[in-house]
């Protein structure tokens, strides 16, 4: 069994993103960066399959700037076997990332590709589904449980209003929802070991993919702020305000 896990370097989830002064883009100059939390869950899901399965290789792959090697190392420290970085100077749109990942998938022929359901930077929730389309594979999005039986993967999907169980023949693309698992921490010895694991770096240009942007970012702004509110002293006070000031209850 071979599992490919695409991982993305993003802003740390505790940091509140700010626009640049000229409003042209997001200001990431001082932001702490980390591994996208949903990608961590995806890695954990792959490692759990590996834990049950002697003949299993987990490959972490990222498309991005040189520093994304740090996030691949994090995945290796958690337990992935090797890493691949497709080095790109500037961030790519999901469709372009998907085209790069398709080339890696064609080369590696994984049985399973596990994505995060979304990047917490652009909140796109697209790349996994796009790779599935480009490869002609089935897709299981919003997974909260994964169970491999022979050459079929059964998944539970979290959908609005409930959940569903689906069966997909391998190879397949899955995307991880929050409650799929709780990712393990990398131990110190494993962090040391990860430094020696293979990490192949490829230049974006060598893939021969058309990654020209389809969209122009015209600007980034802060959403309209909520007006500062007030503290009320009692339940009676609250009800009075809701009735007579906000007029949201009768």
């Amino acid at each position: 069994m071979k599992i490919l896990v695409p991982v993305k370097r993003v802003i740390d989830y505790n940091v509140k993103a700010r626009p640049k002064d000229d409003g042209s883009d997001v200001d990431l100059s001082l932001a702490k960066m980390g591994l996208n939390p949903f990608c961590e869950i995806a890695i954990e899901a792959a490692l759990r399959i590996k834990d049950e399965n002697d003949q299993c290789e987990v490959i972490a792959v990222s498309v991005g700037e040189k520093q994304a090697q740090e996030q691949i190392r994090t995945a290796l420290a958690m337990g992935a076997d090797r890493g691949i970085l497709v080095e790109a100077d500037s961030p790519l749109e999901p469709l372009a990332v998907a085209k790069c990942l398709k080339i890696i998938a064609d080369r590696e022929c994984p049985d399973l590709l596990i994505f995060g359901k979304q990047g917490i930077d652009n909140d796109n929730n697209q790349t996994g589904q796009m790779v599935a389309a480009l490869c002609g594979y089935p897709q299981g999005t919003f997974c909260s449980a994964i169970d491999i039986v022979g050459d079929v993967v059964a998944i539970t999907r979290e959908v609005d209003g409930g959940s569903e169980v689906w069966e997909l023949p391998l190879p397949a693309v899955l995307t991880a929802d929050l409650r799929l698992n709780e990712p393990r921490y990398a131990s110190l010895p494993n962090i040391m070991k990860a430094k020696k694991k293979p990490l192949e770096v490829m230049a974006l240009g060598d893939l021969g993919v058309d990654t020209r942007p389809r969209q122009a970012l015209l600007g980034v702004s802060l959403p309209s702020e909520r007006k500062p509110g007030i503290k009320v002293d009692s339940v009676a006070d609250l009800i009075e305000k809701l009735k007579n000031e906000a007029k949201v209850i009768l």
Partner: protein
């Protein structure tokens, strides 16, 4: 400009979000087709003919669309695309499943969660958990997008029906198979469209205690939501989670009970008209965005609140 909307429906009923998506479509064009794909879903298509703004309903009725699998549905829509300039679906687990797959088939870059349409090619969408709004120009010849339904008011129904067109195309890729559906049933209004949402956090403590929130919600004819911490702790089902990775709601009144107000939670409720926060900790970040804050123990407040709301 011609818009195609991919309708979501289940058990013979058109999903309520469709009405919001039609409103978004009206900001682009007056030529709006609505696709109802499914199995034995003629009734849904008939119903959709009465939606304000919809000029044509397209019915694709075949067993291969029964589960609305992204694989089959995206293949069908990809075939239908010329003449459409825009393709819209709701930004929920249905739309987010199918739209990117369709985008890749058409070789276009879709937009997720559009919350404002400035023109036929310029759109606003939230990024970074809604902490920022991106203004984006799409240069693809077909603009594919999911729309944040809470940002567009629903259209109404009219008495005249529009045309109904039947397409007879089956894309049966047999790539995936749905084997089970579990839909939480309740008599309460749907979380996405409820006028009032009472939401509980970790501090509520148990599913037993959540009954306090349900009964308050019932009194206000509202629905119940939750933070991730409450959902992860198993107090309520997963699909009640509100936030960056859950549902996005914008009710008239949102009451946050024992919720700290992490950015990921706020991402899902900050467009509510009036926000009430009940929290023991006067410094909880939820108070920064609440119109009315009550620093108190939820176990004192909830019974009192219910008693005083006659």
């Amino acid at each position: 400009m011609k818009v195609l909307i991919i309708a979501q429906h289940s058990e013979g009923v058109l999903d309520a979000t469709t009405l919001n998506v039609v409103r978004a479509a009206l900001a682009i064009s007056e030529d709006i087709s609505l696709l109802v794909a499914g199995c034995e879903c003629r009734e849904v298509a008939e119903d959709a003919r009465y939606l304000e703004g919809v000029t044509n309903v397209i019915l694709a009725d075949h067993p291969c669309y029964e589960s609305l699998s992204a694989e089959n549905l995206s293949s069908l829509v990809a075939e239908m695309v010329p003449p459409y300039s825009h393709i819209l679906a709701p930004a929920n687990t249905f739309g987010k499943n199918v739209m990117p797959r369709l985008g890749a088939l058409l070789d276009v870059q879709p937009l997720t969660d559009v919350l404002h349409i400035e023109g036929t090619d310029v759109f606003l969408r939230p990024i970074y958990a809604g902490n920022l709004i991106a203004r984006i120009q799409s240069n693809d010849n077909v603009k594919a997008m999911t729309v944040r339904t809470s940002a567009f008011p629903p259209v109404t129904r009219r008495t005249e029906a529009c045309t109904l067109e039947v397409v007879d195309k089956a894309f049966d890729l047999q790539l995936s198979r749905r084997t089970k559906i579990e839909i939480g049933r309740s008599d309460r209004p749907d979380l996405g469209t409820a006028r009032v949402v009472v939401s509980g956090g970790r501090a509520v403590g148990s599913s037993e205690n959540f009954k306090l929130l349900y009964s308050l919600a019932d009194k206000l004819n509202g629905s119940v939501g939750a933070s991730r911490a409450a959902v992860d702790a198993g107090f309520v089902p997963y699909d009640l989670q509100i936030g960056q990775s859950g549902r996005v709601v914008a009710p008239e009144l949102y009451i946050a009970v024992g919720i700290s107000g992490a950015i990921q939670h706020i991402a899902g409720m900050k467009d509510s008209k009036v926000v009430v926060a009940i929290n023991k900790d006067a410094d909880a970040p939820i108070f920064d965005i609440a119109d009315y804050g009550l620093v108190a123990d939820l176990f004192d407040v909830l019974p009192e609140l219910e008693a005083q709301l006659c």
